[in-house]
């Protein structure tokens, strides 16, 4: 016993080392074991919807909700690829620094833009009904039930190409979010005569 009293620091260190190693092993293993499939794609969207629902029913202030939506958006969706796609051809001539700045600004912009519409979802729910492989990614099919509306179809496109399982597009009854975003960002850029830095500065205020 007395001996042990002198030893704990060492044991602890060893234990810590073991835990750390285990952690590394665990974080490495899932790459193979948890490769994206129909079930994990479906689970991802289930979780994302759950967090959105929790935020909507939290009763927080609008600003606090926007922050939550941005966090959820950054966690469950591949913001860099969405931003790149929204920017379209202009992304090919943008510098790495511009892309980083645009991606960051765009993340806030899109969270506010879609977050403003959250009231429509109060009292509603979204249910995942199916998931299937589609080309090189997965499509999760859900139905949205909003109060006073006929149920409508919402499809989520999920990929693991960012290194994590994340969604990169939402299709609402055939209406494609990426296409709509590319039209919008393209128009905003045209209004600024293609000045990307101006666009980056401006979308932080929209």
């Amino acid at each position: 016993m007395a001996n042990n009293l002198h030893k704990p620091p060492m044991i602890n260190r060893r234990a810590l080392g073991a835990v750390a190693l285990g952690g590394v092993a665990i974080s490495l293993l899932p790459r193979a074991a948890l490769a994206l499939d129909v079930n994990s794609a479906r689970a991802l969207i289930d979780k994302a919807i759950g967090e959105v629902n929790a935020t909507i029913s939290s009763g927080k202030s609008e600003t606090a909700m926007f922050r939550d939506f941005e966090r959820i958006f950054a966690k469950y969706s591949d913001v860099p690829i969405i931003a790149r796609s929204a920017l379209g051809v202009a992304s090919k001539s943008a510098s790495a620094a511009q892309m980083a700045a645009f991606t960051k600004a765009y993340q806030g912009y899109i969270s506010r833009k879609y977050g403003r519409r959250f009231r429509e979802f109060i009292g509603g729910r979204i249910e995942v009904i199916d998931a299937r492989p589609l080309k090189s990614y997965y499509e999760v099919i859900s139905t949205a039930y909003l109060s006073g509306e006929s149920p409508f179809e919402l499809r989520w496109h999920v990929s693991d190409k960012s290194g994590r399982d994340q969604f990169f597009n939402i299709i609402i009854e055939g209406v494609n979010m990426l296409a709509s975003e590319r039209t919008e960002i393209g128009a905003l850029l045209d209004q600024r005569r293609g000045n990307l830095d101006q666009l980056i500065a401006d979308i932080q205020k929209i």
Binding site: A179, S180, T183, E184
Partner: protein, 260 residues
């Protein structure tokens, strides 16, 4: 979401439509509505003219339709407005049935016949949508869809004054629908004015209900014309069952990012 575009009175204001009918017919003939693959992308050769019409429509919405719809929603209680919309919807079911038959969709024709009968008889002439309570599907159709089923191509994108976004095919279809409405042979003016009034009310109700969505497209987006066009075409193709996995634009942004 049933995003109904804000441009009102589709199929209602016959005089206005007759004026537009001739030019749309000509356009329909010129477009050479040949059988073709389901449309993809955007075919808008008359964009400069369409944009002028869009500006007119936005002005009309800002100065008349939007404020009137707010008043309509403020004055009439929700259930009454819903009743008016139900009544208006029910009046359009016979047209749907005719087109279901023309499309060879006998199952849908039967469903819609049942829907019309149930709502007309038990739903107080259509004010109460009992058919939906009985889970009878609610799938509107018109001659535009019939033409699509027959293999007629979408044609060009058209923004019509007052009526809003369409395609050459669907604009022609909308005109045909006015003249082939079975009810118009049974219900004559002035009784038919009730139906027309209800249809206007239904559109106003939609404008009020989807106010945030519509305002977002028309007033908040950088290019409302392009957004309305994109949304209309995608939603229309979805409703016609023409959206398929292989021709969806922006299918895979990962490929896009690496491949070009």
């Amino acid at each position: 979401m049933n995003v109904t575009f804000p441009f009102l009175f589709s199929g209602q204001s016959k005089e206005i439509i007759r004026i537009g009918a001739f030019s749309a017919m000509i356009a329909g003939l010129l477009s050479g509505c040949a059988a073709q693959q389901p449309a993809q992308g955007i075919n808008d050769p008359n964009e400069p003219f369409n944009r002028k019409v869009h500006s007119f429509n936005v002005g009309l919405d800002r100065n008349l339709v939007r404020p009137v719809s707010k008043g309509y929603a403020a004055v009439l209680p929700g259930p009454v407005r819903q009743g008016v919309s139900n009544f208006a919807d029910n009046l359009e079911v016979p047209t749907t049935i005719v087109n279901n038959v023309l499309q060879g969709r006998i199952g849908r024709a039967s469903e819609n016949t049942l829907r019309f009968a149930v709502n007309t008889v038990f739903g107080l002439a259509g004010f109460v949508d009992i058919a939906s309570v009985l889970t009878i599907p609610d799938r509107k159709s018109g001659f535009g869809e019939t033409l699509a089923v027959w293999g007629v191509g979408e044609g060009a994108y058209v923004e019509r004054p007052i009526l809003g976004p369409s395609t050459t095919r669907d604009a022609v279809g909308g005109i045909v629908d006015i003249f082939t409405d079975p009810l118009s042979t049974v219900v004559k003016a002035p009784d038919s004015y009730y139906g027309t009034g209800a249809k206007v009310g239904s559109k106003l109700n939609d404008r009020a209900r989807f106010s945030d969505t519509i305002d977002g497209i028309l007033y908040d987006s950088a290019d409302g014309y392009a957004q309305a066009r994109l949304l209309y075409l995608q939603k229309r193709r979805f409703d016609l069952g023409q959206t398929n996995d292989t021709d969806t634009p922006f299918l895979d942004p990962y490929e896009d990012a690496n491949g070009q």
